[in-house]
Amino acid sequence: MAQVKEPDRSEGELPDPLEIPDLVPGCMAASKPYVAAPEFQKPLGFPGELVENWQEKAIEKMAELRGKYRSFRVFLDACVKCGACTDKCHYFLGTGDPKNMPVARQDLLRQVYRRHFTLAGKYLPWLVGARDLTEEVLDDWYSYFHQCSQCRRCSVYCPYGIDTAEISMAGREIMDSIGKGQKYSNEIIGKVLSIGNNLGLPKKALKATLEGLEEEVLEETGVPVKFPLDEKGADILLVAPSADYFAEPHVAGLIGYAKVFHQAGVTWTISSYGTEAANFGMFIGSYENMREIALRIRKAALDLGVKRLVFGECGHAWRAAYSFLNTLAGPFDFLDQRYPIPQHICEFTYDLMQAGKLKFDKSKNEHIRLTFHDSCNIARGSRLGNMPGGQFEIPRAILKATCNHFHDMPADTIKEGTLCCGGGGGLLTDELIEIRKKGAQPRMRALQQVAEEHGVTHMAAMCAICKAQFSKVLPMYGFDMEAIVSVHQMVSNAIVLDRVEGASQESEGGEE
């Protein structure tokens, strides 16, 4: 594949994270994920393989979406080709492939939409860039709608607020409906529906893992911090991404949540039925699958009789929970209405800090010079706390409380302008490693800058996908794979635990 040409730089000069590359048309056309086999399509209600009359069916689906979602129509009708979005996508910046410009990605769908749903497109298609849905167009859809991590950075800069994430979700939904689904996302959704979580962890494995963590924390700290599973009548149901029970540095973050709950003096539990916070139904634009996944959380909360719902560190899970949980699986009138429904673990920890109930020994993180990667679905798709921008300030407040050395990356690469890790939106799969690596380039360059200027050694994140993606791509950019840490890993390192036994069994933390 053609490579982006590096411009001349003076020796030692670091590249600008947002440097616009030379165009390399079509260089990523061959990048596409494995197509889902019938065994992964059918449980989700999709045809097993490409249906015979797929063109007709795809247009029918497009008509359905057009009727159902006002946003779909507005986004496809409103673009005036102003160009503001063209250099805002990390996959464009990393590859130089013009089809990774957000407007070009939208146009893949828009050209077919115009052909079938606008007067000019029906009669004068050549005049308005309208096209029939050919095999070639479908190929482009499959390649380039899987080179969008639905991070919504481009929508921040669009004067009309056109959200390319929704366009690529619609594109994937149409492809699923004609039998051309993506293996990675659809296999995972199937596991949530049959076992209860993305990883396919059965109760027995979950129990063994949690018991192992209890032992480990007791050994290390001398404090009996609990990791309860399916405990009826607990105050709080913790819903974390299942990677928190499997991968690193995710597990280190989970240990942090447990220590915070211990200090809060609340009772809490994990559910083996509604284990998963992630909701890949969103990635493929499938309302039905998104709802099925969300309903498992509702059922778990009801069955266990909890009063509160707290979500762990997972980016798109928080968007799905914060923005959609109530309409997908509400009303949650059976929960304690005095607390946010749902609440984020960072809000929980921050509230305790405000109430003066957490003590941190920052010297435990003295070896770390830290920066923070805002995860896109939290930065742009939701909020934390009750003040505007809380999603930016709360995690930073937690990190600064636990570590003496904190330095933000360049201002145009963080907060609402944050850059995707490169693996979001259903792209975190091995066969897409090239686009993942290239898409991570702007973030890695921003990290290189703070590493150079401030000696930053570690980057914290609060999303399971970001953590897994960075573990993989950091070494490709000269960093240590363990340079990525969980926000609650920093909390876990520094938190001072009370040694009173049974402290975790009192009801109500009063952290509000």
């Binding site: 995972i188 990883l199 059965p202 494995a205 499997f246 991968a247 897994a468 993989k472």
Partner: protein, 111 residues
């Protein structure tokens, strides 16, 4: 469907080289899969592979990295009981690459 061929037997695998039928696995096949992955199996590799298979049989899923690290530490001592050591053995990641060689399904999700 793609397949490994060993002594005139064929063993189906998926797009990424993971065995379709877990019952197909045997030690010679593991050597063959490892060769495809450019890994020469040493006793240390076998320790991981065997641990993964035992764990899978008991729990129907691969173990968390932390559990694997702990098991290695117990058997080979602290200097071989960390994540980095496992990555030396299996450069593409102990969870995925070692599972492939052990004939187990690929761990899915945000990992």
């Amino acid at each position: 469907m793609d397949a490994y061929v060993l002594d005139s037997h064929t063993y189906e695998h998926d797009e990424e080289g993971y065995l379709k039928n877990l019952a197909d696995w045997n030690k010679e096949l593991a050597q063959l899969i490892a060769k495809d992955e450019k890994i020469e199996l040493t006793p240390e590799h076998w320790e991981v592979v065997n641990f993964l298979r035992d764990y899978y049989e008991e729990y129907q899923v691969a173990p968390a990295i932390r559990i694997l690290v702990k098991a290695m530490k117990k058997t080979f001592g602290p200097e071989k009981g960390d994540q980095k050591y496992l990555y030396q053995l299996f450069p593409y990641g102990p969870a995925k690459q070692a599972c492939k060689i052990a004939g187990l399904p690929k761990p899915t999700g945000c990992v």
